[in-house]
Amino acid sequence: MPLFPRWTNTVSRLSGVILLALPAVAIAGLMIVVRSTWGTKQDREVVQPIEFDHRHHVGDEGIDCRYCHYTVEKSPYPGMPSTTICMSCHAQVWNKSPLLSLVREYYFKDRPIPWNSVHNLPDYVYFNHAIHVNKGVGCVTCHGRVDQMALVNQAAPLSMGWCVDCHRNPEPQLRPVEFITSMTWKPDPSVDRQRLGAQLAQQYNVHTRISCDTCHR
């Protein structure tokens, strides 16, 4: 009577295969996960304290981004609108709407609205809105079609690789600054995108850097 039954041969061979396959699969899996929209948090739904709908304000009303995000051209931060800005309109329109009751409460109690931030860069990354907006990188390029978002979510992976790709070859992303906030601007199909980009880069004196200290300080 043999020490091991026959089927153990299969088991031993199988275990050999698994032994080799397991690490490979695990590593590959990790690679995939960090690139997935779950890994980049793109699919994360961030609920806001107030049902603010960009579709309505940007899409229907066509309010320029800079009306509310007013420091985007001069500061690293885009500028979250102060409640005064909400009230500047909503003192007149919808000033009885229950949807806005919380806004009014915050305003009259003089307390800030606790928005939840959607685009979260690590604190060792120093992204500067002003320089990008001034050099022809449109809002839509990174933030996506906000005018079609009921609830704003993270449109781009915001991974370092994603940043660096554009910094290596910014031309295709550049647009005339007069359309900087436009959600719908498309380059005239007759002109070559790369050439247009090159021309704009020239005009705006775009000089992307990829040294570490560009973002890490």
């Binding site: 102060s82 939840n116 604190d123 890490h216």
Partner: protein
């Protein structure tokens, strides 16, 4: 320590009215859930977080949580980095991002955005800081109402855009979480209103007797607001008296002028005009707030290319001071003998200068000293009108008077030394100032004593038992930043508002008036001196209104608009006091001299104010405590400095505890064998020896005694030096933490020093430079980050950042070290860790001695990352965490660093610093407010080093690029360069041939440290040039 609560920072422009008297919470009302302070007159109050607002303190995170401190703090306003910087860095750097979901960050918008402020861009406010009553103008950088950096005010005549170490470290005091928070009566919490009520009741009695028992002991001040309040009080209570007290009095200066010119005057030394300078125990180069301007004048004349040529500095002093380190010739002398020396010099000069005929030194002087005197006399006499004799503040009135006489005789009055009326309110701030008060206290005549001077119980001389005397005062009131010896000896203690938290005004040494404006709402609800004095008046006007009313008549046209400009520029134009040209009362001086007797011989005790903590008022400032003393390089301690001769004779070694006994009183102090120190004296600095808890010290959660208290040895009669000292070895040794253990260059050509003749004959420096271009004419470059940044041609980039250090100018004052610490969020590690070689300051002020131990020469070499073009650190890093930027910066990427420390091992300059422990952990909310949001806060296990202030480069670059222009030379300055009182540091782009840094790189004195390693540093040094007198050579 629980999370401190504080109202939020001042926001918006500076014209906001004074806060209504802050309702100081009683202990009870400090309970969680209390509504935060309402309108403090500073516009709206913004709070840290909704949680706090809705659920009160309880909702705020506490330190006993598993995540790094602040992990769940909601940020305030837009400044999400401000409060999250630390936590963000620690979470991310500690790698927790790998295993925890980062909490969703809150973005709290303003309800009403303050005008004039763009969130994310700092604002700068001009204000002033006082040192012993004399102001220096400063600019404070403020992030969303949070001052995080202090710079000198360029428009201010004294600071001229620079500061000393103290102004830089002031913020560490402002944000000190151990500051007093509660107004107390005999230990029980009371409210400000309660205090005022109590005073109101007493005032009835004072009004009857005219305030006969009402006494004030104030800090030295030049504030006109204080002056007006004092007048108002004396009008109400004619018999009330004001006294001023400082443990570092300048009385002898004023007594000296009184003796020489008949009235108290403020001397100003125009060092830029002086060819020959003699310092009589005067450490005039120590960069104190009130004298920082002298450094630049002096330094400009250390440049061999200066049109008037180099100056020559003689120093006579007992200890080895910063000024002594810059001297071309130095004579070791007990302070007590300097009177005699000065007279002997006058006598010597008298031979050639008729005005000085007839002076005679009480004791005969021979040998080396006589030689020195004759040489100096010759030199001085040869430079009439362009020479200068400076007497030190520790010297006697007579020394000062004779020094004035010599200056007068040499025709220097009005040329190299000018005089104005003193800016300070009291010229007697020492013994003369408070002797009468002490008498009254002894007699028990004082019913109410209001103390705003810093901690007099601690700083009182050993023969005045102020603590005991205060017991006799039924109503003693003390206003102080901290709970200290004095606060425990009085029955009313009021937490003081920091100068950055209150309105006021101050005058600089030469009279220029600055308005002191608050940069932030009182963090702990402190009270300003003006508010306190106001409590003794009937009208309840706020200091802010008093101030405006007081200065209203200064306005030439529209007051409000001028007021605005005064605040914006930081100075009130045309307020500098006009120079007076006094006449010397030669006979009076001679009369005073005639009574002089030679001092007794033997060992002398030399007390000096500490370079870092002065009389102790900065003892709780961790930045200054950790700053290595410029001479001894000791941190967190004071020492008894003994000369090499005495040390040999008594067998004293570093750290031996000595028992110093003077007239029956004795203290124990660890010894320090100081080269160049007098063998007839022992020097100890005052201000140490208090049990204290200090911000940010890893190994000191419990209060510890820092240093040794020598005030007991001090006597009211002889505050600075006394003979008859007995020294005994205790037989025990005391651990000292110092940052430099080896003091010689071992003959290595790393810190060059040449005499001017040698230099003109044959400058050594050019031999110590690398070839400009390598074979093939290719410019060398560091390893670029191949995976992200493909090969860059460095010569093609827009800028080529570089630095140059003029060692001729550098005095070693170490202001740059503190400035760097403030700008770059550099942690404090504490005495124990410094002792283990883990200090973190990015600038190491290397100090080397040459020559004999008796009369050494000192050279200072600020050493920080050299940004080598072929950096040895870069090719050994396994993960590309330190790489070259396209503009030649040696970037250190904290978030990529895994901490192998190979880069530091391979750095020939050893300028990299490693976070051996989590220095930035467990920071309280207040400490976090100190952080510069533009710089990552490093966590445990990462390497860090000088970055050429890359955050400033990038901000300036972006600003310039938005305007489509290039960065101009001088537009961009590093923190160390900006603060340097002597312009020893230059930073700029080498691609601009006209830039200052290019000039210095082309200077014949320029050399590269360790050039033979071909590291091709971007930071270069200029040889230190000395100008010795051939006669003494």
């Amino acid at each position: 320590m629980t999370t401190p609560r504080f109202p939020l920072p001042v926001l918006g422009t500076s014209v906001r009215p004074e806060p209504t008297a802050v309702e100081l919470p009683d202990e009870a009302s400090l309970a969680p859930g209390r509504e935060p302070g309402s309108e403090h007159g500073y516009g709206r109050t913004y709070w840290r977080s909704v949680e706090e607002q809705l659920h009160g303190e309880a909702a705020l995170p506490h330190r006993d949580q598993e995540f790094p401190p602040g992990a769940f703090d909601a940020p305030k306003g837009f400044a999400r980095r401000d409060f999250l910087q630390l936590m963000g860095a620690s979470v991310a750097l500690a790698g927790l991002t790998a295993c925890t979901e980062k909490p969703v960050e809150k973005i709290l918008a303003y309800t009403r955005a303050p005008d004039g402020m763009v969130p994310g861009n700092p604002l700068h406010y001009a204000t002033a800081l006082m040192n012993d009553g004399m102001a220096a103008g400063i600019l404070a950088t403020s992030w969303e109402g949070r001052p995080v950096k202090v710079e000198g005010n360029p428009t201010h005549p004294v600071s001229r855009g620079t500061t000393g170490p103290h102004a830089q470290a002031e913020l560490a005091t402002l944000y000190d979480p151990f500051r007093a928070r509660v107004l107390k009566e005999r230990g029980a919490g009371r409210s400000w209103r309660g205090f005022r009520e109590a005073m109101r009741q007493r005032s009835a009695a004072w009004e009857k007797d005219g305030g006969a028992g009402l006494r004030f002991l104030l800090a030295p001040s030049s504030s006109l607001l204080t002056a007006s309040l004092r007048d108002a009080i004396t009008q109400r209570f004619p018999k009330a008296r004001f006294h001023a007290w400082s443990a570092t009095p300048r009385d002898s200066v004023y007594e000296g002028t009184t003796l020489a010119f008949g009235k108290a005057l403020e001397p100003h030394h125009v060092l830029e005009k002086a060819d020959v300078v003699l310092s009589l125990d005067a450490d005039f180069l120590e960069a104190r707030a009130d004298t920082v301007d002298q450094n630049l004048g002096f330094a400009n004349r250390r440049d061999p290319r200066h049109p008037q040529g180099m100056n020559r500095l003689y120093v006579v002093e007992p200890r080895f001071s910063i000024t002594g380190g810059m001297a071309d010739h130095r004579l070791r002398l007990r302070s007590a003998d300097i009177e005699g020396f000065t007279l002997a010099l006058a006598a010597e000069l008298g031979k050639t200068v008729p005005a000085l005929a007839g002076y005679r030194s009480p004791a005969a002087i021979g040998g080396e000293r006589a030689k020195f005197i004759s040489a100096v006399a010759k030199d001085l006499a040869g430079r009439r009108g362009t020479s200068l004799v400076i007497a030190g503040e520790r010297q006697t009135a007579v020394t000062h008077a004779v020094a004035h006489a010599i200056n007068a005789g040499l025709g220097n009055l009005g040329a190299t030394v000018t005089f104005t009326e003193p800016a300070v309110l009291d010229t007697a701030t020492g013994r003369a100032g408070w002797e009468p008060l002490v008498e009254e206290l002894r007699a028990g005549k004082v019913d109410t004593l209001v103390i705003t001077a810093w901690n007099p119980v601690f700083t009182a001389p050993g023969d005045v038992d102020l603590q005991g005397l205060l017991k006799k005062v039924p109503n003693a009131i003390y206003l102080g930043l901290h709970d200290d010896e004095t606060s425990r000896a009085v029955n009313w203690f009021l937490p003081a508002a920091h100068p950055f938290e209150s309105w006021g005004d101050a005058r600089s040494r030469e009279g220029t008036l600055s308005i002191v404006q608050p940069l932030i709402q009182p963090l702990f609800g402190g009270i300003s001196e003006a508010e306190l004095l106001g409590a003794f008046l009937t009208d309840e006007t706020k200091p802010y209104d008093r101030l405006k009313a007081l200065h209203a008549e200064r306005a030439k046209s529209d007051f409000d608009s001028e007021w605005e400009t005064w605040l914006a520029s930081g100075v009130v134009p045309g307020t500098a006091s006009s120079a007076v040209t006094p006449a010397l009362q030669a006979d009076k001086v001679r009369a005073a001299v005639a009574q002089l007797r030679p001092p007794p011989g033997g060992l002398a005790l030399e007390l000096v104010h500490d370079y870092k903590i002065l009389d102790g008022r900065y003892a709780l400032n961790s930045w200054l405590q950790e700053l290595p003393d410029p001479i001894t390089k000791i941190t967190w301690d004071n020492v008894a400095q003994v000369g090499p001769g005495l040390a040999k004779e008594m067998g004293i070694e570093h750290g031996d505890l000595l028992l110093l006994t003077l007239s029956g009183r004795s203290v124990q102090v660890p010894a320090w064998v100081q080269p160049g120190h007098s063998d007839e004296a022992v020097t100890v600095s005052i201000g140490y020896g208090r049990k204290q808890q200090t911000l940010g010290v890893k190994d000191a959660d419990e209060p510890v005694v820092v240093g040794h208290d020598v005030y007991p040895l001090r006597s009211a009669a002889q505050p600075w030096f006394a003979t008859g000292l007995e020294v005994k070895k205790v037989g025990r040794s005391y651990p000292l933490s110092h940052t430099q253990v080896h003091n010689s260059t071992e003959g290595r050509p790393i810190a060059l020093m040449q005499s001017i003749e040698e230099f003109e004959k044959h400058p050594e420096a050019p031999e110590l430079r690398p070839p400009v271009k390598l074979a093939g004419g290719k410019e060398l470059e560091g390893s670029t980050l191949a995976s992200v940044q493909l090969g860059v041609d460095y010569s093609k980039q827009q800028y080529k950042w570089a630095m140059a250090v003029d060692m001729s100018r550098c005095t070693g004052c170490s202001a740059c070290v503190v400035a760097c610490q403030a700008e770059n969020n550099i942690p404090v590690v504490g005495k124990y860790q410094v002792g283990r070689g883990r200090e973190m300051q990015w600038i190491r002020m290397d100090r080397y001695y040459s020559g004999t131990a008796e009369s050494p020469e000192m050279v200072n070499q600020p050493m920080f990352c050299q940004h080598c073009e072929t950096a040895p650190c870069e090719y050994v890093c396994p993960v590309n965490a330190t790489v070259h930027s396209d503009e030649g910066l040696n970037d250190m990427v904290y978030n990529r660093c895994i901490g192998t420390r190979y880069c530091s091992n391979n750095c020939p300059y050893k300028v990299r610093h490693f976070n051996y422990l989590h220095w930035t952990q467990d920071k309280s909310q207040v400490e976090k407010m100190l952080m510069n949001p533009d710089v990552t806060v490093r966590a445990r296990g990462v390497m860090e080093k000088c970055t050429y202030c890359v955050q400033r480069i990038e901000r300036t670059r972006i600003a310039a690029r938005i305007e489509n222009r290039a960065i101009g030379d001088g537009e961009l300055r590093t923190a160390c360069q900006q603060v340097c009182p002597t312009n020893a540091l230059t930073f700029g782009s080498l691609h601009d041939p006209k830039s200052k840094v290019s000039e210095r790189h082309a200077d014949p004195r320029r050399f590269d440290v360790l050039h033979e390693l071909n590291t091709r540093p971007r930071t270069v040094y200029l040889t230190k040039i000395k100008n010795p007198n051939p006669e003494l050579g």
